[in-house]
């Protein structure tokens, strides 16, 4: 496929935080830049805590607001209408958004024909919508499942801000169809790319189950601990290692000790070496209550480690095929989670079969494959 070199803007809420979306944005920007496009990665604001994504990035980066603008406000009651301070603040906010949008407009106007604006988060879309995008094509994205959006205020905002973009990309066909049924007609599908390219994979021999991610309630580590109780009793030779930190850490540690899991369960803290962490593991546990398109599942697969995951979102089903390259468990059913873990622990051959199949299946999400899909979508929006 001959590629037209394009000017590509990726506009995120912020581009400096340590988070899944930011990792995705930098990875994608690098990928597109390396394939010949001129990428400009733009954050609307600076985050509270800044992560170092490196100097001398191969693509351009900017941040629109030097200072975080106040949150949007609208009068709801009569008393609100008389609130002079709030009204003044809202006017200032609007003016500063206007200014930032004007900066975007200037950048967009300077772009070559065939330019693309990618907006991976709905909050940032407010700025892009306020800018002049004529002559360009705008691609919106939602990085979470339809259900997760529907359960929060984001569904309303997605409907409002993304209904008119040229294409709205969802992570899975299932989510895209759900949005179609909901009335959005511009939806299409793009999976997240696999961020690692490992040289060596896991041998799957060490008696170790690994889980990796933020220690937050939605990641469901409390459920994993509960499921582990019976495993620990029956297979005391196996250990469970949890990587990550987060707001639930203290509670989880306490829970582990109430459950009598002090010996076999390790809290290993945050790690920068994901590949190393997974290379030692024989089984990967993904007990989340809610997910978008979990990168850690792809990473485990790319390291040859079979997963046990709660079937909590289309993204999980898209990555893990039950009994083919991993095991899926009905949401919240910790007893079945135990059964699945034990199956992989006791059955070496099963572990190997699922793990090897995973290595093959994960190539669907290899950067080259995802890049090819981007080119296809760029082509579509200019047809």
């Amino acid at each position: 496929m001959t590629r037209t070199p394009r000017d590509i803007f990726i506009v995120c809420n912020n581009i400096e935080e340590l988070g899944g979306l930011q990792r995705w944005a930098h990875h994608t920007a690098g990928m597109l830049e390396a394939s010949g496009h001129a990428v400009h990665l733009i954050g609307v604001v600076h985050p509270e805590s800044v992560h170092d994504y490196g100097r001398d990035l191969p693509y351009r980066t900017s941040v629109l607001h030097r200072v975080h603008p106040p949150s949007a406000w609208g009068p709801r009651t009569v008393r609100d209408r008389l609130d002079v301070v709030a009204r003044r603040r809202e006017a200032l906010r609007k003016a500063s958004v206007r200014q930032a949008a004007d900066r975007l407009t200037a950048l967009f106007r300077a772009a070559r024909p065939g330019a693309i604006v990618i907006v991976p988060q709905v909050w940032a879309m407010e700025w892009v919508a306020a800018a002049d995008t004529s002559g360009l094509r705008v691609i919106g994205m939602s990085h979470e499942s339809f259900e997760a959006s529907a359960n929060s205020s984001r569904a309303r905002r997605v409907r409002r801000w993304f209904a008119d973009v040229d294409r709205l990309l969802l992570l899975t066909v299932e989510d895209a169809d759900a949005w179609s049924r909901d009335g959005l007609n511009n939806v299409d599908v793009l999976p997240n790319p696999l961020p690692i390219t490992p040289e060596t994979t896991s041998e799957r021999t060490a008696p170790l189950v690994v889980a990796l991610g933020r220690l937050s309630f939605e990641k469901g580590y409390d459920l994993l601990l509960e499921a582990w109780v019976d495993v620990a009793r029956r297979r005391p030779d196996w250990r469970l290692r949890l990587y990550g930190s987060g707001p639930e850490e203290a509670r989880l540690r306490a829970r582990a000790s109430t459950l009598g899991l002090t010996d076999g369960v390790e809290f290993a803290g945050r790690t920068a070496d994901v590949e190393g962490a997974l290379r030692e593991a024989s089984v990967f546990a993904a007990p989340s209550r809610a997910e978008g398109f979990p990168i850690s599942l792809m990473e485990a697969m790319a390291m040859g480690v079979p997963s046990v995951a709660f079937d909590c979102a289309p993204g999980v089903r898209e990555i893990v095929a039950h009994e083919r390259n991993g095991l899926l468990v009905p949401r919240g059913n910790t007893r079945e989670f135990t059964v699945a873990l034990e199956r992989l622990i006791t059955d070496r051959a099963l572990r190997d079969r699922l793990g090897e199949q995973g290595l093959e299946d994960v190539t669907r999400f290899a950067p080259e494959a995802v890049l090819e899909r981007w080119e296809q979508i760029f082509g579509y929006v200019y047809r």
């Binding site: 895209a176 919240g332 047809r383």
Partner: protein, 947 residues
């Protein structure tokens, strides 16, 4: 990317005398997110400006829009569309009618789907936009388009044949040309044939869930004239011609299944479209219609009659037999699904629609309505056919006479009969303005119940005016004290039926007459009309105002008011809560609730009864959810969620409930919440349930907050403490009293009056057979699924009917439809609020995982566990607190054979199960000693104490 490349899509817009709407259609294509397309406007020789409009578009968009004009009008859609296909240059072709529009992304979605799947045919969702009805939208066969799908052939999804539109689709142009696929000219319903051929010929079909086509529906002209109805016959012959041509295409062996499906569709859909109106046509029309239909029906696969839905098949069969009297009642059934419109016929233990045609095998199968029509239900749940046989009026008074169907002569000649007419505004909120007039005479005749009456409408009917333009006529028939409601069915009114003067409450300006008419469903109604000068002027004024700037403002303000009421309500509720929190608690006020207000039953009921006996000073409030029926008369009844309910809760000294009081109720500090619960647990509950475990933090916090309101929790054993109380993380104090509802089960000397009353109610007095109660637990199902009996009832009756009578009690969230033909041996006991007398009545209990097992064990009678889905239920869905198979005090039956055997042997069971039962009671019901209600009342309502 060269400039001269072929367009991706050609959109063919056809127009005939529609110059005003054409621009809207064309604009919807020009605004597409797909740029690389062409528009061909094909004008079918319009006599208005349509072609000029088309040419203007062509001039404004050279190279993109072409205007084509047919020399002669073709009178249909086929010729212009075919012309468009011939002239198109795009890789793909789509069609658009001048009165409709395309969704902005339609062409791009079609193109992307076509390119990614390589399909010849892509089909997306069509929505009907009802103009002028606040933008109401109804999707067309949405179930076909719920998710994207790629089909190699139409036979993978034969239901596609139902979507016969050609406009919500995108066709590869080479596919149309290679198959010489064109619209048939000179016939209506060209889409039917074209789509069927496209489905059959396409080398891959892709379905997308996106809305592509907006079918703009203008409200139907009110009453169609006779000449239009004549036209309908033409329509029908055209439709038959199209179907015959589709049939030709479907003749090959491999398309047999499609042919059958198409025949089924003809019965259910195509034919029904004409049958609806048939009773209201002239006899002449009917004489022409029936032979036409008959002739085509004779060519259908006979299996189609058996596979089609029963009601359309019934009507079609009677068309085939040219039996007008029975067909008329069958059409009444088509129009009014739940009506018993025919007298029916009983033969060999089955019930038939009529006595004729039973010598024919197909006739016997189709006319057998034993399980279709509700002939066996109590009269108050039956809608009887009621033919209006006479209508006349003089001045303000109307004379009516009719005949009510007496199905299977179930209403005895000796029955006491009376009837009254009800005139009721169709607007539900004005139901209270209904007026009733007694019927002068009603008597039993061999043909049915004949009635007649005269009503002075001018004196009785007083509409408000404006708000209530339509008044329906109902009849309440009373048979030995049981009331059965019906409507007056007629196919036409006498030519000379004229309007009747009335006096609306708002005065003559809003109307001065009512005019009788027959509704689309064949029922007599009246509509308010304006005949005098004042009324006509008044009406003009109302209409003019509505159309003026002021009127528009008025309407938009009203609409805003309505949309804002949600927010207003929430705000009002917030304020009200603050007020409720300040209310003082009233001593002795008890709010009772059982199963979310659905029943007067269970522990709260027995505590209430004990309170009555105790002589304590108290004031009872019962919460009901749907109906007040069955609730006690000595209590104040409040509807669940009403203001009165919230207020009672805020003022109550006690809440006594078995499940969960409204989550947002105000519980004041002086209120004590006694949670009695409704059964011990086998299945995992509360935070032990997977569905709760997987829910987010906010949902879990809500649940915890709800159960943290409990102050006391009634338990039957330490098992309850270890399972239920732990599972809900309760801080409440356990009341180790046992269940009040089980007092009568634990106490062999308990009075049996309620058991005997129930025996009589179920018609079991003097029945020597042993009583088996089947009480399964609730199983989660898809939304449109209904509860189904998991064993064959007919086999049950055959094999066990002589020895046992079966009572079925579903979970309170379920409902069961039992075949009326088995009524002697199988009865529905679901409507009984209170389960305790039912348990006491039963000699044997069949259950599965229901908590009733814990209660019934107290009676020390045989139990059978019908656990056909044991693995799936206990492991996959919920999980259990103990292994039922190890502890069940009765045999587990995994299938029907085992179940029937176990029931048969239940009479002669050996001591083994009796021992298990006692152990079971000891483990799970140790506190059930027959004194629970008394203990609770004595503790919380000390009589003569400080008050």
């Amino acid at each position: 990317m060269s400039v001269s490349r072929a367009p991706d899509v050609s959109v063919i817009v056809i127009v005939y005398n529609d110059a005003t709407r054409l621009p809207r259609a064309v604009d919807s294509v020009l605004r597409q997110t797909l740029d690389n397309l062409e528009i061909l406007i094909v004008d079918d020789a319009s006599t208005d400006d349509s072609f000029a409009v088309a040419e203007r578009f062509a001039a404004e968009h050279p190279g993109k829009v072409r205007a084509i004009r047919l020399e002669h009008n073709s009178g249909g859609c086929s010729r212009p569309r075919n012309e468009g296909i011939d002239r198109a240059l795009g890789t793909f072709v789509m069609f658009l009618d001048s009165d409709d529009t395309l969704d902005r992304h339609a062409c791009k979605n079609m193109l992307v789907a076509a390119e990614e799947t390589g399909a010849d045919l892509i089909s997306g969702l069509c929505v009907r936009l009802h103009e002028g009805r606040n933008g109401k939208i109804t999707p067309w066969y949405p179930e076909l388009y719920a998710e994207r799908a790629v089909l190699e052939s139409a036979s993978e999804r034969p239901e596609l044949l139902y979507d016969t539109l050609s406009t919500n689709k995108c066709y590869r142009r080479t596919f149309l040309n290679d198959h010489e696929l064109r619209f048939p000219e000179g016939l209506h319903y060209e889409d039917l044939l074209f789509s069927a051929r496209a489905y059959l010929g396409a080398n891959r079909i892709t379905l997308i869930p996106n809305t592509v086509y907006q079918w703009r529906v203008v409200k139907d002209a009110k009453v169609r004239s006779i000449s239009n109805r004549r036209g309908e016959l033409r329509n029908f012959t055209d439709r038959l011609a199209i179907h015959r041509r589709i049939d030709e295409e479907l003749q090959t062996e491999e398309l047999r299944s499609l042919k059958l499906l198409k025949d089924v569709k003809f019965l259910q859909h195509d034919l029904v479209l004409y049958l609806w109106g048939l009773p209201f046509q002239t006899e002449e029309f009917r004489r022409e219609f029936i032979p036409l239909a008959q002739e085509y029906l004779a060519t259908l696969d006979p299996r189609a009659f058996r596979e089609a839905k029963h009601i359309p098949a019934l009507a079609a069969y009677l068309v085939l037999r040219d039996d007008w009297p029975n067909l008329l009642t069958a059409i009444d059934l088509v129009l009014n699904r739940s009506k018993v419109a025919a007298p029916l016929h009983r033969q060999d233990g089955r019930v038939y629609w009529c006595a004729e045609h039973l010598d024919d095998e197909l006739g016997r199968a189709i006319l057998d309505v034993t399980d279709l029509v509700t002939w066996a239900k109590p009269l108050d749940q039956v809608w009887l056919g009621n033919d209006l046989v006479h209508y006349s009026s003089t001045g303000g008074s109307v004379r009516l006479a009719g005949l009510i169907v007496n199905p299977l002569d179930r209403i005895e000649p000796t029955a006491r009969l009376s009837a009254r007419l009800e005139f009721r505004s169709r607007r539900k909120k004005l139901a209270m303005t209904a007026v009733h007039v007694p019927v002068d005479s009603i008597r039993h005749t061999p043909e049915g119940l004949a009635w007649e009456t005269t009503v002075d409408l001018t004196r009785t009917l007083h509409p408000v005016g404006v708000l209530d333009p339509v008044w329906d006529v109902w009849m309440d028939l009373t048979v030995d004290g049981v009331v059965s409601t019906s409507r007056l069915f007629a196919t036409s009114l006498p030519e000379d039926a004229r309007s009747i003067p009335i006096r609306p409450r708002l005065g003559k300006a809003v109307g001065d007459h009512v005019l009788p008419f027959i509704t689309d469903k064949g029922h007599l109604s009246f509509t308010v009309t304006h005949e005098g000068t004042i009324a006509r002027k008044g009406r003009e004024l109302v209409l003019r105002t509505a159309d003026s700037a002021f009127g528009h403002k008025l309407v938009s303000t009203a609409r805003k008011q309505i949309t804002r009421t949600g927010a207003r309500k929430r705000e009002a509720f917030r304020l009200a809560r603050t007020a409720l929190a300040k209310l003082p608690v009233r001593k002795g006020l008890v709010v009772f609730e059982s199963h979310l207000g659905l029943q007067y039953s269970d522990n709260p009921r027995y505590i209430h009864e004990e309170l009555r006996r105790s002589g304590a000073r108290f004031e009872a409030v019962w919460v009901y959810a749907e109906s007040r029926a069955g609730f006690p008369k000595d209590a104040t009844l409040v509807k669940r969620g009403s203001w009165a309910h919230y207020k009672a809760l805020a003022q109550a000294e006690f809440w006594i409930d078995n499940q969960g009081v409204l989550g947002d109720a105000v519980k004041n500090p002086g209120t004590t919440y006694i949670q009695t619960w409704h059964g011990s647990a086998l299945k995992r509950m509360g935070f032990d349930m997977p569905s709760v475990k997987q829910s987010d933090a906010a949902a879990q916090a809500r649940l915890q907050k709800g159960v943290d309101r409990f102050d006391y929790f009634v338990v039957r054993s330490e098992h309850d403490v270890e399972t239920l109380m732990a599972a809900y993380r309760l801080r409440a104090e356990p009341l180790r009293t046992g269940y009040p509802r089980n007092d009568a089960l634990a106490d062999a000397d308990a009075p049996t009056a309620d058991v005997e009353a129930l025996r009589a109610e179920l018609g079991l007095v003097g029945d020597p057979r042993r009583i088996v109660l089947y009480a399964p637990t609730f199983r989660p199902r898809e939304e449109d699924e209904e509860f189904e009996m998991p064993f064959d009832l007919e086999r049950w009756v055959r094999e066990l009917g002589e020895e046992f009578v079966l009572l079925v009690r579903t979970h309170y969230l379920d409902a069961v439809d039992l075949p009326p033909s088995l009524a002697k041996d199988v009865r529905d006991a679901s409507a009984t609020h209170d389960v305790t007398p039912l348990l006491r009545l039963a000699d044997v209990l069949i259950t599965d995982y229901s908590s009733l097992m814990f209660d019934y064990a107290l009676l020390d009678r045989p139990m059978v566990f019908y656990t056909y889905d044991y693995e799936a239920y206990t492991r996959q869905s919920r999980g259990a607190y103990f292994e039922l198979a190890d502890r069940a005090p009765g045999p587990l039956a995994a299938d029907q054979d085992a179940l029937f055997a176990a029931v048969r042997e239940s009479g002669a069971e050996h001591g083994h199960y009796a021992d298990l039962r006692r152990a079971f009671v000891k483990s799970y019901g140790e506190y059930d000693r027959g004194t629970a209600a008394r203990q609770i009342v004595e503790r919380f309502f000390p009589t003569g104490g400080a008050q």
